[in-house]
Amino acid sequence: MKSVWPIFAREFASYFATPLAYVFIVIFLFAMGAFTFYIGHFYENGVADLSVFFAYHPWLYLFLVSAISMRLWAEERRTGTMELLLTLPVPLWATVLGKYLAAWAFTGIALALTFPIWITVNYLGHPDNGVILASYFGSFLMAGGYLAIGACISAATSNQVIAFVVSVVVCFLFTISGAPLVLDVFRAWAPLVLVNAVSSFSFLTHFAAISTGVIDLRDLIFFVSLIALFLTANVVLVDLKKTG
């Protein structure tokens, strides 16, 4: 674990060394606000909860988190710092984990900065703050899931645009894997078990479950194991490039 920290610290600081962090956070907050108030009709609903706010998180993450993850490995590869990084005496898993955690922590900060909306809703009424807290937790976990997918895809290419586009598509499939668009592809030929398995990959379903305020162990395990799976794939992908 000791070797994760320097990697994490450098990666995390790198977000704030360029305008990237500030641009991202501003756009993130603006988009969150726009969706909640104009598309979600937060005021008109007249309900003191944040369900409309959280409902748009998966869709915003689809693009915004992919924008964070696309550079994670692709940029190292393009600028040649990959060679420097991978010849330092750090185990590969620690490098992968350190970079991932830095990106996740950064996303967490952006998410935490949405706190004024929580103050607003408390000012306007008496919302169930337990539900809101659980939703924040679920949202953070879901962002971690998107990030792990994006990081893994970024490791496969030195082209950030490709990394972004492929990440958005893969994350989109994971988001809606419970919907007919995805399931119909499998229904035609796959056994029911597989169809059910695919449908259980849906981020929307798991996030919706947590957003009700009930943190079910199954949802937790889903996200954690998905993150672990994609980070392992990330390690394997980086290692594969070693063999040319």
Partner: protein, 320 residues
């Protein structure tokens, strides 16, 4: 300290490195020469654990790079091709990161950074983003990063590329000073660099070692090794040329005209014989009006060209 055995790496059908064996011991500065695409960088990448070899193995300070990369990498300072560094960091931040990763903290990290910044003369640019630095400074940031932990093994891919003559001199002096207690491999295109700092020169071509020896051994393979050049007035040239040819150790004499009415004659020795004494005695006896005369140690570029293949040849061969 560095032990390379049968190292092989293929990229698709092309063997970038085709069975290299090398041993480098403490105190050696090995100059790695070869045309572009000969496999220099690929070899270095395998020694440092960035690429995995298809066959063969590398041990650094006794650690197998494939089986125990972390232990091996702790003993290596590596300057990759192009001296990559995080562009948005300043040298201070970047070296801080390297120190952190190498396990130095607090006062020791500071002291080490201070020491390498002094050695590589980075004081003036310590707080400028690396992105904005000139090529020479970027290269020196890469050097500083490589020597920060005072490693017993240094692997440097073109350490003086992009430096001006003063900076080159400084870097060479730095490497020379560190050389006695380290094993160093540098790759370079500058043959003068090999003569200046290397104790051993290895030329590779198409992934194979084609020459391995001290720089003077390589020079001895040059046609110009011990050749003597005379500069004479043009009217004496023809006569001098014939007399020189008759010397017992001379194999050939070449003549080239110069602009100011003088002629340059170069006498080549038979199998490396020393000519200078006989030639100067002859010149004295014949009372030639010699403007300049010098013996040559040999020309590395000539040796290099003679034993490596030309780009075009290689392209032709890979097509067929």
């Amino acid at each position: 300290m560095i032990d390379i055995e049968g190292l092989t790496k293929k990229f698709g059908p092309i063997a970038a490195v085709a069975g290299i064996d090398l041993k480098v011991s403490k105190g050696e500065v090995l100059g790695f020469l070869g045309p572009n695409g000969a496999g220099k960088s690929t070899t270095m990448k395998m020694v440092t654990g960035y690429l995995a070899p298809d066959a063969g193995r590398v041990r650094v300070c006794g650690f197998d790079v494939e089986l125990d990369p972390i232990s091996a990498q702790r003993t290596i300072g590596y300057l990759p091709e192009g001296a990559p560094a995080y562009a948005d960091m300043t040298p201070r931040q970047f070296l801080g990161f390297i120190a952190h990763v190498r396990g130095f903290t607090g006062k020791e990290a500071k002291a080490r950074i201070h020491a390498v910044v002094g050695k590589t003369e980075l004081e003036l640019v310590l707080d400028q983003p690396i992105d904005t630095l000139s090529k020479g400074f970027k290269r020196r940031v890469g050097l500083a990063q490589a020597i920060l932990h005072d490693p017993p093994v240094l692997i440097m891919d073109e350490p003086t590329d992009g430096l001006d003559p003063n900076q080159k001199y400084a870097v060479r002096a730095l490497l020379k000073a560190m050389a006695p207690d380290k094993a160093i491999i540098i790759s370079t295109h500058l043959l003068e660099e090999v003569e200046a700092i290397c104790t051993r020169a290895v030329i590779i071509d198409r992934g194979r070692v084609v020459a391995d020896g001290t720089p003077s051994q390589l020079l001895a393979r040059s046609r110009h090794h011990n050749a003597v050049t005379l500069i004479l007035p043009a009217n004496q040239a023809e006569m001098a040329k014939n007399k020189l040819k008759n010397l017992s150790d001379v194999s050939a004499v070449e003549q080239s005209a110069r602009i100011n009415g003088t002629v340059e004659l170069t006498a080549f020795p038979k199998s490396g014989a020393l000519l200078i004494e006989n030639v100067s005695a002859l010149a004295l006896a014949e009372k030639w009006d010699v403007r300049e005369m010098y013996a040559e140690p040999g020309r590395l570029d000539e040796v290099f060209r003679a034993i490596t293949t030309h780009d075009a040849t290689r392209a032709r061969e890979s097509r067929s």
